[in-house]
């Protein structure tokens, strides 16, 4: 079965057919319902428990399937701490909301109002004086970007954006 997926961040919600009332806000939680058994009967029950769908609905989402209570659906967030040298406050982010390094770095830049330099495998980050690093599950401090994204996101315990003067002491490779 082919489902439409989110493509390049385009929100396909706007172009989707939906049985909801016109003029509903972006907080539509229910997707179009289809029953598998042939029937001319499509029904949409008002969702009273507000459910935040973090991904846009695929075209043929079925009501109540898989059978997970809405209570369980909007949770399971996992955060890592982010600190920046010289900044007074720690922040926290959910790594799952990013799909790759560019997205993450952009978010960090926005969060702490800085720019990170050009990344190269051999020389690390150059040009801005800020170096994003992270502590992995083994307790080692690594340069952000050295390992594939998936490996990074599952082993990153916390992030630290170092100021330029400390950066050269960090081993850029494993």
């Amino acid at each position: 079965m082919a489902y439409e997926k989110k493509v390049n961040e385009l929100n396909l919600k706007d172009t989707e057919l939906c049985l909801g009332l016109p003029g509903r806000t972006e907080e539509i939680k229910e997707e179009q319902e289809v029953s598998c058994v042939k029937s001319n009967n499509k029904r949409q029950f008002e969702e009273t428990r507000d459910e935040e769908e973090s991904t846009p609905p695929t075209k043929t989402q079925i009501v109540g399937w898989p059978p997970v209570r809405s209570y369980r659906k909007n949770n399971s967030v996992s955060y890592v701490k982010v600190s920046m040298d010289g900044a007074p406050y720690l922040r926290k982010i959910d790594l799952k909301t990013y799909k790759n390094y560019p997205e993450l770095l952009k978010a960090l830049e926005n969060m702490f109002k800085f720019t990170v330099g050009e990344y190269s495998e051999r020389e690390g980050y150059k040009g801005s004086g800020f170096v994003p690093t992270y502590e992995d599950k083994d307790g080692d401090w690594m340069l952000v970007g050295d390992v594939p994204w998936d490996m990074f996101s599952s082993s990153c315990k916390r992030l630290r954006i170092m100021k330029g003067s400390d950066a050269p002491t960090l081993d850029a490779s494993l």
Binding site: M1, R43, E47, T48, P66
Partner: protein, 636 residues
Amino acid sequence: MTQDRSEMSEDDDDKQSPPLDLRSAAIAEPSSSSSSSSVVVVVDSTPNKSRNCISSSSSGSLTSQPFPDHVLENVLENVLQFLDSRCDRNAASLVCKSWWRVEASTRSEVFIGNCYALSPARLTQRFKRVSSFVLKGKPRFADFNLMPPDWGANFAPWVSTMAKAYPWLEKVDLKRMFVTDDDLALLADSFPGFKELILVCCEGFGTSGIAIVANKCRKLKVLDLIESEVTDDEVDWISCFPEDVTCLESLAFDCVEAPINFKALEGLVARSPFLKKLRLNRFVSLVELHRLLLGAPQLTSLGTGSFSHDEEPQSEQEPDYAAAFSACKSVVCLSGFRELMPEYLPAIYPVCANLTSLNFSYANISPDMFKPIIQNCHKLQVFWALDSICDEGLQAVAETCKELRELRIFPFDPREDSEGPVSEVGLQAISEGCRKLESILYFCQRMTNAAVIAMSENCPELTVFRLCIMGRHRPDHVTGKPMDEGFGAIVKNCKKLTRLAVSGLLTDQAFRYMGEYGKLVRTLSVAFAGDSDMALRHVLEGCPRLQKLEIRDSPFGDAALRSGMHRYYNMRFVWMSACSLSRGCCKDIASAMPNLVVEVIGSDDDDENRDYVETLYMYRSLDGPRKDAPKFVAIL
């Protein structure tokens, strides 16, 4: 330990629950006439009458004695007091009128599996000394938005009736009921000795109702709000507990989505010397948890709040969380971990070795973070988690947790087409490592018959097997065959199986197996399965102990539904949605079975003459159709 399991469990009881005693319950008063022919029910022709009260009066066991024998009844009273199990009590009540009377006057714990099976008045007429009351309302599929809101299951008529009849009531345990703040206020006012309030999957009330209970129920030992929807009325309910030392033993409010007054909570815990179980909501931070733990080392069951830190000054010294957990040597049950920051997980190392129950199902933990923790949990019996621990994490569980009895793996991304981090590999590993397994709930994207068969062979103690392959109609992903043989092996080999939920591509053959081998199955959940009416017929003509049947989106029609008429009085309920049923057939059944309430549920704009039945929910009832049905429910 078992107490913790039932707290965590979303499931029904696993105890045997005999059918509602229709015949003897129909007798409102012991009559002096000797005739006691069945008043209301048809003769039941099934061979299985052992727990079935719907039989003809040919047994002649209801001849009443011309003069009540007071001495005998006094003796009986003293003896029957020792009977706790409701099966035993139900059986005792059928011996004769005298026994029925005495049993009714001595039963203190009442269990009602369907709030619409009888009226509150009937309850209070029969049982005079009830102190503990368990009541269940909406059918389970309502949890998955398969029913419109405001369907019913109101607690109001029950609490108002019991307020007059049982002023000594101590315990109320509700599941899937609609409970209002007014109901809670009435409860708090009417029962001065009230001790335990347990609300599971309930809704309709808010923190103001909780505040009233906290304030007025001075003997309160248990206040457990579990997976309920509680509106935030912006009431500081924690401060409403009385000022002096409390009787609290268990306080669970992890589902309350409202900030709480931490200072008041700290004070409450400090003056609750009997507090053993505490489940916090996500508005209690890790720092605050630390303080609580230091003040409550006697806790046996802990639900953490938020397991992370908010924005904070960098220079602040962090509390020693591991030390706080070390102080809690008695903690055997751990849950919570909302908003988890994995770096803090090691704080729980000190208690891992003692844990018998661990619930990580709100925590998105990768295998790398998970393995060091689970490797210490040798005593674990109950484990709930998200599939983010992957097959690798399950293998670690299998290696360490040899005492495991219950496993639940929930999907982090509950969609049909999501990535599947767990598969048959994890299931196989668990089956090989955890031989004492009794109950499993497993969400996955792909599965094989081989792994399911392996589990059926390796885990003979299984009583609950619920496998949810999230892609509909998905076959064995290695062989491409239906999942018939896997589920067939489960019913064949797991001789103690009482609850089964099936999924994946299933033909009628799977149901043939279920009907033939599912001798003890009481609860069956079916979705997107089967080819024809024969499938449902196999089940209805087999499965002698079937009580609860819930089916959705399966091609079962009128002929199949009719084939079960001989047994619907022996069941608690049947749910069928998006199947192939016609209104005409449902009407026929309703006419033929007057003690069956046949509800056809639709939406408001339904054409009343429409023949197709979107949702059928039918159940036996002693007191006829309910009076509070909303517009979208048609009772045939």
